[in-house]
């Protein structure tokens, strides 16, 4: 056994090395060892990492699971996985096979890993204090029912998810019962369902991510104390798509995000005490679609540019404050030159109210009658919420 | 040549022609006279089938006008008001009518006769009423059809043009044509026509030559003879 160890620093695995398989290396290694996997293809699966190890790939060695099932399972603390290229994770309808699964462990680092032809990508189960950094997950999912998620967290907390690229899976990043998570500078795009999907996850921070061209967009449900800063929600364009879906959410801060070209930029239902500050909504179908039960929300300093509908409301009751936003459709004047329009702006159009009530009426979109209707409603509001106005609309986008 | 049988036409409730019979068999100049609203223009337009009669038959040179439009090749028609497409030039209008009706060489002479040379490249909308009427005459007389129908041909003409027009009409008569004219100018009628067809309230009140009319009404001039015809109707 001692002879096989190349050095105290670690174990080398390669085609011509004494140790040719990763499984063997893991079994052989002592806790705290480093395993160096040289360039090559390793047809292995169900690898169990049950002691603190650092597994490093040199020049991206390929681990080919040959569709047999799970590839790497980590059940020990302080494990680092670095620089592997894992392909062909087995698809199953009964168990969620992952390329890398971390179970009940802490202080793990998964970085520089490339995953292709996967089912689930990186799956954290009841784990904590870890880092998922700079990985690339490229799936080729076609149908929701037989595809998995890119980065999947379940009952995990204190994890940093940063600088990853996830595309072509079901949900790019999925969090369920995952608290105090930081998701930053990730790119999640072209996923079948959600770019980011989280439920029952509190005190999380999302910054500087890009969510682009996902089937449905980003969904945030049943969560509280979330911060979302500087994210980009782009091109989520389809009949049932949105940039960001908020459902049963409390105490959110949504600031400085850019929503560009989404069917619905933000769809909200049952969201309370949400602050929308300095976001930009550009060329969306609906910028904000309020579906009901939203109280004490604040919209300030946002820019609404060329959206078909700025704000859509399904009730006449409003408990939300719009103040000091810029609206590209605003046609008021500013006599005192203080940069704030002298006439309030009403972001809810009559047509959006009608469409909410009878969705089929959308077929009249962009007809002259609707323009006339909206104009007359603007002049003397009858149907739209009276108090739903921005009393201080900005004259210029800042 | 022209045979009208039992012609009836009303516009809404206003009966304009009722059971009118007219048969013109020989060549010559025929004046269709009558007070305003007596149906002169309606009769002419019925012959040209611009007005569709309610009842009755019209034959021109033996052809039923209901069945064909070709018979109009045999008629040169001068409409009452010469209001042409204003964007066309005179030259283009002439070319167009020729294009629609067939070849003719006669227009050069007529252009010269009415001194229309300077107006050929002017748009019709910019012409004076008199010049327009000259163009109108030109368009009618440049073809050689056996029947001519002239609706108020003298309207707006200066004396010189009037003389030229009379000469033209007589010239055509010499060729053995049948010429129908409506006019309000009695001296013109008296000078030019062989026979008078006098319409009153939708029917022919008198048909015959001027001399007969004068004799019948015991008047020495046509104007008074016509007046008598009108009065006798009121009586």
């Amino acid at each position: 056994m001692l002879l096989l160890k190349v050095s105290a620093m670690g174990i080398e695995v390669c085609e011509l090395c004494p140790i040719k398989s990763i499984q063997r290396a893991i079994t052989t290694a002592d806790p705290g060892d480093t395993i160096w996997i040289k360039k090559g293809t390793y047809k292995e699966y169900n690898l169990l990492v049950d002691k603190p190890l650092t597994i490093v790939g040199e020049d991206y060695p390929v681990i080919d699971g040959e569709d047999q099932g799970e590839i790497l399972r980590i059940v020990a603390d302080s494990v680092t996985i670095d620089g592997l290229f894992i392909i062909n994770v087995g698809t199953s309808y009964t168990s969620d096979h992952a390329a890398i699964r971390v179970v009940k462990s802490s202080d793990f680092i998964i970085q520089n890993v490339v995953l292709e032809k996967l089912f689930f990508g990186i799956f954290l189960e009841k784990s904590r204090k870890g880092k998922i950094y700079h990985n690339k997950i490229i799936g080729d999912a076609k149908d929701e029912y037989n595809s998995g998620n890119g980065i999947h967290l379940w009952y995990s907390h204190n994890v940093l998810i940063a600088n990853n690229i996830v595309e072509g899976v079901r949900d790019g990043i999925y969090l369920e019962f995952a608290d105090t998570i930081t998701v930053t500078e990730n790119i999640s795009r072209k996923n079948l369902r959600y770019g980011l999907h989280f439920m029952f996850s509190n005190n999380d921070i999302y910054t500087d991510n890009e969510f682009e061209n996902n089937g449905a967009g980003v969904a945030v449900m049943f969560s509280k104390y979330i911060k979302m800063y500087h994210n980009l929600f782009k091109d989520n364009w389809g009949t049932a798509s949105f940039g960001l879906l908020l459902k049963e959410i409390n105490d959110l801060e949504i600031e400085n995000n850019l929503f560009n070209n989404n069917t619905v930029a933000i769809s909200v239902e049952g969201a309370n005490r949400v602050n929308y500050l300095n976001n930009e909504f550009r060329s969306n179908g609906w910028a904000i679609k309020v579906r009901g039960a939203c109280y004490k929300n604040l919209f300030r300093g946002n820019h609404f540019l060329n959206n078909s509908f700025d704000v859509s409301y399904n009730s006449r009751i409003n408990d939300n404050l719009f103040d000091g936003n810029y609206w590209s459709k605003y046609s008021g004047y500013d006599l005192d030159q203080d940069g704030v329009g002298d006439v309030p702006y009403r972001p809810v159009k009559l047509f959006s109210y009608i469409v909410n009530r009878t969705p089929e009426t959308i077929v009249l979109l962009r007809s002259l009658f609707i323009d006339i209707l909206d104009f007359s409603e603007k002049v003397s509001p009858v149907f739209t919420p009276d108090e739903l106005v921005d009393k201080n609309p900005l004259m210029k986008a800042i | 040549m022209i045979e009208v049988v039992g012609l009836h036409k009303q516009f809404n409730k206003n009966v304009v022609l009722s059971d009118l019979h007219l048969n013109i068999t020989e060549p010559g100049i025929f004046a269709i006279l009558g007070p305003n609203g007596s149906g002169k223009t309606t009769l002419i337009k019925s012959i040209l089938r611009m007005v569709i009669p309610d009842k009755g038959d019209i034959r021109v040179l033996g052809k039923d006008v209901k069945k064909t439009s070709d018979y109009r090749k045999q008629i040169d028609y001068l409409p009452q008001i010469a209001n042409f497409p204003s964007n066309l030039k005179v030259r283009e209008l002439i070319r167009m009518i020729k294009d629609l009706r067939g070849k003719t060489e006669k227009e050069a002479r007529l252009i010269e006769q009415f001194a229309l040379q300077p107006y050929l490249d002017i748009k019709l909308g910019n012409l004076s009423g008199g010049t327009k009427q000259k163009v109108n005459i030109l368009l009618t007389f440049m073809f050689d059809s056996p029947i001519m129908i002239l609706d108020e041909p003298t309207a707006g003409l200066d004396p010189l043009a009037m003389i030229q027009l009379k000469e033209l009409i007589l010239e055509e008569k010499q060729k053995g044509k049948t010429i129908l004219i409506t006019s309000h100018i009695m001296s013109f009628v008296e000078e030019m026509t062989d026979e008078i067809v006098f319409l009153l309230e939708g029917n022919i009140r008198f048909k015959g030559d001027i001399q007969t009319l004068k004799t019948d009404t015991k008047q020495s001039d046509l104007e008074h003879a016509i007046a008598i015809l009108l009065e006798s109707n009121h009586a």
Binding site: T239, G285, I354, V363, R366 | L48, M50, Y77, I97, L100
Partner: protein, 270 residues
């Protein structure tokens, strides 16, 4: 056959002269330059071909019918004497009116085509993916021109009084462009308890302006906004049957007024 040939030849001659007449009319140039300037301004402001196509659609589905209607009525009344001149010629009435109708509809369509087309081509339409949307836009524009000129002719043939005729024609446009949609909207809201897919589809098919608008909307990216209803529409209009049906409807809207024109023209006094 001989007769048909003759009829065709004379009709084409009338068409040619009506067309020439209009081609020189100041109004054709105003119409042409209006579209030219509109397209230029849109391209200048948007800097994006497909965006400009969307804005252009809003203008086209409303203005083309209006201008077709007004032009049709104006041309009819202004060319009455010309028509009378032609009526005295050995020409069939059908060829006169059909020729005039086609003359005006064609010259308006061409004004639209070139007025909007030239700026877009200069802007690089042929290298753009928007070319199909744009072609569809122009095609529906042409259809709307033919439809509304025909309707305008029908109205003017039935009204000797030109002010009345003008009034009816504008009223017709107002109905098709605005009032119809109001009634449509009302009925959708009133019957909201019931499944409305069929009703909304039917309501759209019956009005050429709505049909054109929806056809273009579905082609453009914006169709995602139509949501579930849009999906139903897309399913229908995306099929061959749907295309066929909309083409048939547009053709019917063109052909029926033309038959009305011919029928009325054959029985009318001048």
């Amino acid at each position: 056959m001989q007769l048909l040939y003759y009829w065709k030849v004379t009709m084409l001659k009338i068409l040619k002269y009506s067309f020439y007449d209009l081609a020189r009319s100041r109004w054709s140039y105003i119409y042409f330059s209006f579209y030219l300037i509109l397209a230029l301004v849109l391209l200048f402001l948007n800097n994006d071909l497909s965006k400009a196509v969307i804005t252009l659609m809003n203008v086209i589905v409303i203005l083309v019918p209006l201008i077709g209607t007004i032009f049709g009525v104006m041309y009819y009344y202004n060319s009455r004497e010309f028509t009378e001149l032609l009526l005295a010629q050995p020409i069939k009435r059908n060829s006169i009116f059909l020729g005039q109708y086609l003359g005006i509809a064609l010259s308006l369509s061409l004004s639209l085509l070139f007025g909007v087309g030239i700026p877009f081509v200069i802007y690089g339409l042929f290298d753009s993916a928007a070319i199909w949307d744009f072609s569809l836009l122009l095609l529906t524009g042409a259809f709307l021109t033919f439809i509304f000129v025909a309707l305008a002719f029908t109205i003017s043939l039935n009204n000797e009084n030109r002010i009345k005729g003008f009034g009816y024609a504008v009223l017709l446009w107002l109905f098709m462009a605005v009032i119809y949609d109001g009634i449509f909207l009302m009925s959708l809201v009133i019957f909201e308890e019931y499944p409305l897919d069929k009703l909304s589809l039917l309501g759209t098919m019956l009005n050429p302006i709505d049909l054109s608008r929806i056809l273009i909307l579905l082609k453009l990216d914006i169709s995602a906004l139509l949501g579930y209803t849009g999906a139903v529409f897309k399913q229908f209009f995306g099929t061959h049957l749907g295309y066929l049906a909309s083409t048939v409807v547009l053709c019917l809207w063109t052909v029926i007024p033309i038959f009305r024109i011919l029928h009325k023209a054959n029985n009318k006094d001048f």
